[in-house]
Amino acid sequence: MSGAECESDMDCSGSDCGDAGYEDYYSTQPWDGEIDNDINFDKQKQDPEYAVYECLRVDEVERLLNENVEFLTTNLQITPSLAKLFLHAHEWDLQDILLKYQDNTSNIMIDSKIILSHSVDPLFNMKFLKGNLCSVCFLTFPTERFSTLNCGHSFCNDCWCAYFETQILQGVSTGIRCMANSCSILAPEDFVLSLLIKPIMRERYQQFVFRDYVKSHPQLRFCPGPNCQIVIRSKELRSKRVICSICKTVFCFRCGMDYHAPTDCDTIKKWLTKCADDSETANYISAHTKDCPKCHICIEKNGGCNHMQCYNCKHDFCWMCLGDWKTHGSEYYECSRYKENPNIAHESVHAQAREALKKYLHYYERWENHSKSLKLEEQTLEEIKLRIQKKVMNASGTWIDWQHLFEAASLLARCRYTLQYTYPYAYYMEAGPRKELFEYQQAQLEAEIENLSWKIERAETTDRGDLENQMDIAEKRRITLLKDFLEV
């Protein structure tokens, strides 16, 4: 299952689709070797949406990750558990790890939170270990019932186990820290597994660890399709359209959301948030959970503080605006004042609000309309299928005679989809000649799409040549717009 996957009929335009030679190309050449850049460049020029990626099963991903682990264990003579800590802390960049390790071994150990930069507080050991007292449960145990992390902090095995279980139930795995006060040392995988007893917990822990590894790997993305286990691998972190080979979900490789060309990842996120929180004030603020802006895990607001730290990726952000907390040093007043007194916001922007709303509704209505049309046209396609079935049964032509209708319908869907995503792009564009050009091309594309849609609805009476001509025009308009405005 390697090679650039582009099977679904949505994407089969070139000769490289499902081509066996193409598959061979990837299975005989190592992924990290030089990919033929000239070929890519040419393809890119013809098709602005061209993307190279592969769809991997869990076992294939595990093999890939294990190869990296083994590389480090043999080259650096370290345990797999330690190698994994390095890899996770360094985004799986082997060269980076090797260089840093050779340059200064203790520095990379400190940076990866494996050892402390200072020796452990002598008071800690004096106070607790001598009396064999566990400072978490306040009970005494014989020495063999204690376990110690690299930092030297020792706690009873029962407490470690209960602590790990609590963390795992909260979705934390690679980020589990030592239990001592202000100790940031991470618990390595083998340490956790040596103390976790319940099989279900061990299983969950390993699942979460795998999830964290994939998420920390810049070349890997989970397929966002429901219950899909596939991981997409692409060498370049770009907002490219990828299609899962198993569940056929289409998504953007960079952000994992629905594919959104020509709009970029940040803009589409902004747009979708805007659409979801239509009031943008009261409703937005009263929500009690939000996604971490970095790793997108769901976070519940605990207490009243706006300074949030994601328990998963440790990203610091502002609850109000989801902005990076670091940037709030001097301007933090705005957000919190907003929270304590939402009227402040109303007062100052009330006059501009109406204008802004008008502009927003203009784009939103079109965005919504095309989204609805897409769904309606899906129904149309089903109806066409039924009608053709009848025709074939009545011996008026074969399935092959009507194949072009399906092609037309899927091309229509692809064009309409792009058109829908041109509206958020235009909404955030600054007024000027570039926006005028964009909206001109958008209008052209829209006109051709409506023509095509009209012709497909009356497909049986439309001349086939005429229909194919219309398909060609619509697709050309779409490609032109993407070539001019899609930034890749």
Binding site: S135, V136, C137, F138, L139, H153, F155, C159, C161, A162, Y163, E165, T166, Q167, R177, C178, M179, A180, N181, S182, C183, N302, G303, G304, C305, N306, H307, Q309, Y311, K314, G329, Y332, Y333, C335, S336, R337, E340, N343
Partner: protein, 206 residues
């Protein structure tokens, strides 16, 4: 995981301190005392008390805290907020919510309620205005430290039994209560607008 691990640990925290000959979990270092009591037998809800540290606007005040122990304590932090109203950059003047790292991601299972209360006391001595809970207070703290000091002292005397009397501020509050404004709302508005009677009035009646 034993379900009553949290309760056991709380009981042991109390016992540890009783061993050192103190009645409840009670420490008295200089004039800086902290105290924890059970609200009922359940060990789920506790009442904390800290004395305002000397040489701060909170000196002489006694601050009551609500402490809720989650089922997963000590592996997760207790939930703590101020019941006594307080004017401090890292504590909400409205809800009493606290912005303190050890009550969030910097919590460690080896910490105790004693650690928490001592840290809160330290927070009263040294605010962190760059990580504010209450932005209005934080702004005043940074831009008008003298005004902040007066306001915090005033709140301490009104809500936490602090010693200072400030007739000038009381007079301004009275002007507003005479207009039918509820006393706390009047104090809150005046405090938020640096005791500018005109702006506070405007805000209250807008």
């Amino acid at each position: 995981m034993a379900t009553n691990i949290a309760a056991q640990r709380i009981k042991r925290e109390f016992k540890e301190v009783i061993k050192s000959e103190e009645v409840s979990l009670y420490l008295n270092v200089a004039q800086c005392s902290i105290k924890v009591e059970l609200v009922n037998d359940s060990c789920v809800e506790l009442k904390g008390e800290i004395a305002g540290p000397p040489d701060t606007p909170y000196e002489g005040g006694n601050f009551i805290l609500e402490i809720k122990i989650p089922e997963t304590y000590p592996f997760n932090p207790p939930k703590v907020r101020f019941i006594t109203k307080i004017w401090h950059p890292n504590i909400s003047s409205i809800t009493g919510a606290i912005c303190l790292d050890i009550l969030k991601d910097q919590w460690a299972a080896a910490m105790t309620l004693r650690t928490v209360l001592l840290s809160l006391q330290a927070l009263l001595s040294a605010a962190e205005p760059d990580d504010p809970q209450d932005a209005v207070v934080a702004k005043q703290y940074k831009e008008q430290p003298e005004m902040f000091h007066q306001t915090a002292k005033h709140w301490t005397s009104v809500y936490a039994g602090g010693p200072s009397k400030m007739p000038e501020l009381d007079e301004k509050i009275k002007r507003l209560t005479d207009m039918g404004i509820e006393e706390h709302n009047a104090r809150d508005a005046l405090s938020s607008y640096n005791w500018d009677l005109e702006r506070a009035t405007e805000q209250l009646f807008s």
